[in-house]
């Protein structure tokens, strides 16, 4: 599945410069240049300009970086990629700079180089190069955006990532719910399931090559695995029992999920390739929505064993189960943040459903949204934003993203309604 991205020059990435200032860092992204000449050179410059605009668009979406408007007149020569004129960018107020090039190769592919600089100190922060098919220029641009974002903020970028969700059309009994996948910037949108059977809760593998979801194809809900390349599908485990709420381990090797046995819902873990599931919880009632910690050693889940839905943490083998939510209301659908610091959850109360975060030890709880129809939160790979589902008064559901700073949630533009979002990690 690694069809692209052989980092060919990965030389001494400097440690991340801390973004200690509350204001956004102004970053200049002049058009990528090319060492090629003639018509070929013009083609490469055209690709470079497209990539430059996409990088600027990526970085503009972040809270931490503020890109200057790119200008085609800011041309620089190939040698200047590694020796930029810092004084020029200083005078424009930029604190950081991205340079790079697009070069044609004899095998028909392209080399894209990307460099990030601290303008004030006049030193390089990071560099990376990618060999790509000409049609994959968007991914190279996203990778360059991620390089800049990570070099300056220290957080993982969200640009070369995917979002899976349930696309909803129609109302009532005519409603169709099917799995869709798109790049995190909304491009490359496609449907994964046909829509003849209802689909719920798609969960991407960490490298976004496959996903687990719940299908009603057999009349009752069952976890199925679908390969996003071949579109081939299989049941997670060969059973007639109701299974749901799947989630991959951070290394992609295991899947935790819920399964009914009689009137009891418990949490199980199984190899992502199938095999015999191992039961992790045994309490009567509903144990569901498990999510691994980023190191794979612990699992957060919800349980109503105490009379109401609350959050619990256990070791990955099911040992040491303990409740972490105590402040009132009902807590559901937890997901552990990729950096390990937080757990996002849905809180139910008489006021409706809202999204909040809490530390894994149960401290530091705060609400991020006001509801009343919010649920299904999923972390951005940066651990700085959360994607969730919000229903309007008419019951129509859409996807929103909210930053941890508590700013107003922003809607995602989708071809139709959406629910159950899941955000992948950065792709290889």
């Amino acid at each position: 599945m690694k069809r692209f991205l052989l980092p060919f020059l990965l030389i001494g990435i400097a440690g991340p410069a801390q973004a200690q200032q509350p204001a956004a860092t102004v970053i200049a992204v002049p058009p990528l240049t090319s060492p090629d000449g003639g018509n070929r050179g013009n083609e490469m410059l055209a690709v470079g300009w497209d990539a430059t605009q996409l990088i600027v668009s990526d970085l503009r979406q972040t809270a931490e970086l503020m890109p200057l408007q790119p200008n085609r007149d800011d041309y620089y020569s190939y040698p200047e990629v590694t020796a930029p004129t810092f004084s020029k960018w200083r005078s424009k107020g930029a604190k950081a700079l991205v340079t790079g090039f697009v070069q044609s190769r004899s095998d028909g592919r392209l080399t894209v180089g990307c460099y990030v600089y601290d303008v004030e100190k006049g030193r390089e922060l990071a560099r990376k190069g990618f060999v790509i098919a000409p049609t994959d220029w968007r991914r190279a641009a996203h990778k360059c955006s991620g390089l800049a974002y990570t070099a300056i903020t220290g957080a993982a970028g969200i640009f070369d990532t995917r979002i899976a969700y349930v696309a909803e059309t129609g109302v009532g009994d005519a409603r169709t719910k099917r799995v869709a996948v798109m790049d995190s910037d909304g491009t490359n949108h496609r449907y994964v399931t046909a829509g003849d059977a209802m689909a719920l809760t798609p969960r991407l593998a960490p490298n976004a090559t496959q996903l687990a979801y719940v299908s009603y194809a057999g009349g009752k809900p069952n976890v199925r695995i679908v390969d996003l390349g071949s579109k081939q599908e299989r049941p997670l485990i060969p059973t007639d029992a109701i299974s749901f709420a799947p989630r991959y381990s951070p290394d992609g090797s295991r899947i935790v999920f819920s399964m009914m046995q009689g009137a009891n819902s418990d949490i199980y873990v199984v190899s992502a390739n199938g095999g015999l599931p191992r039961r992790l919880t045994t309490s009567p009632g509903v144990d569901t929505d498990p999510s691994f910690s980023p190191d794979g050693s612990r699992i957060v889940f919800e349980s109503d064993r105490g009379g109401s839905q609350q959050l619990y943490v256990m070791n990955a083998d099911g040992a040491a189960q303990r409740r972490i939510s105590f402040t009132g209301g009902w807590y559901a659908s937890p997901e552990w943040s990729p950096d390990g610091d937080w757990i996002v959850f849905t809180q139910r109360s008489t006021a409706g459903r809202r999204i909040g975060i809490v530390k894994p030890d149960g401290s530091g709880e705060r609400m991020l949204t006001n509801g009343p129809g919010d649920e299904s939160p999923s972390w951005a790979p940066s651990s700085r934003e959360i994607l969730f589902q919000r229903a309007d008064i008419a019951g129509r559901s859409g996807l929103y993203r909210v930053a941890l700073d508590g700013s107003e949630p922003r809607p995602l533009t989708l071809p139709q309604g959406g629910s159950d979002p899941d955000w992948s990690g950065v792709m290889d």
Binding site: I242, V286, T288, E302, R353
Partner: protein, 150 residues
């Protein structure tokens, strides 16, 4: 085998009350060859509904406990099902629409299982009753009639 799925109309009694949650719908799934061919879907549906006092039973909020009214309906359904061993039914459980997706799904499954256990307790053969859960995915179902001939 020719399967007939009947979602039987709810004879909306006092069940529309406040915090009660609609659940579950008993759906005759198939009928065997010994069933008189002349007995149509409508007749069977009417008979089932009339003789069991309804096709839907209700639970309290966040509850999987069968109340007295629910047990009365299920007992009548069980009696009818024992008289019609050729009928296969599916119990479809529902969760609260205000619930989160997966918990609602689990609650629907638990309620369906509780109802099935009660039918089995009253002598209905296990093979005659299957269960599924729609969680909060079909908030409108139960007050309408759906006839599917597969």
């Amino acid at each position: 085998m020719r399967k007939i799925v009947l979602a039987l109309a709810l004879t909306a009694s006092a069940t529309a009350t406040q915090a009660q949650i609609r659940f579950p719908t008993i759906i005759p799934l198939s009928r065997g060859p010994q069933q008189p061919v002349m007995q149509g879907i409508d007749a069977m549906r009417a008979e089932f509904a009339a003789q069991s006092g309804g096709t839907t039973v209700y639970f309290g909020s966040e509850s999987v406990i069968l109340g007295a009214p629910a047990r009365t309906v299920l007992a009548a359904q069980a009696a009818w099902l024992r008289r019609h061993p050729e009928i296969v039914v599916r119990i479809e459980g529902y969760g609260d629409t205000g619930d989160t997706r997966d918990h609602a799904l689990a609650m629907g499954a638990r309620r369906a299982e509780e109802a099935r256990s009660y039918l089995l307790l009253l002598g209905v053969p296990a093979a005659q009753v299957s269960t599924t859960s729609w969680g909060k995915e079909r908030p409108g179902l139960g007050r309408s009639v759906t006839v599917l001939v597969r």
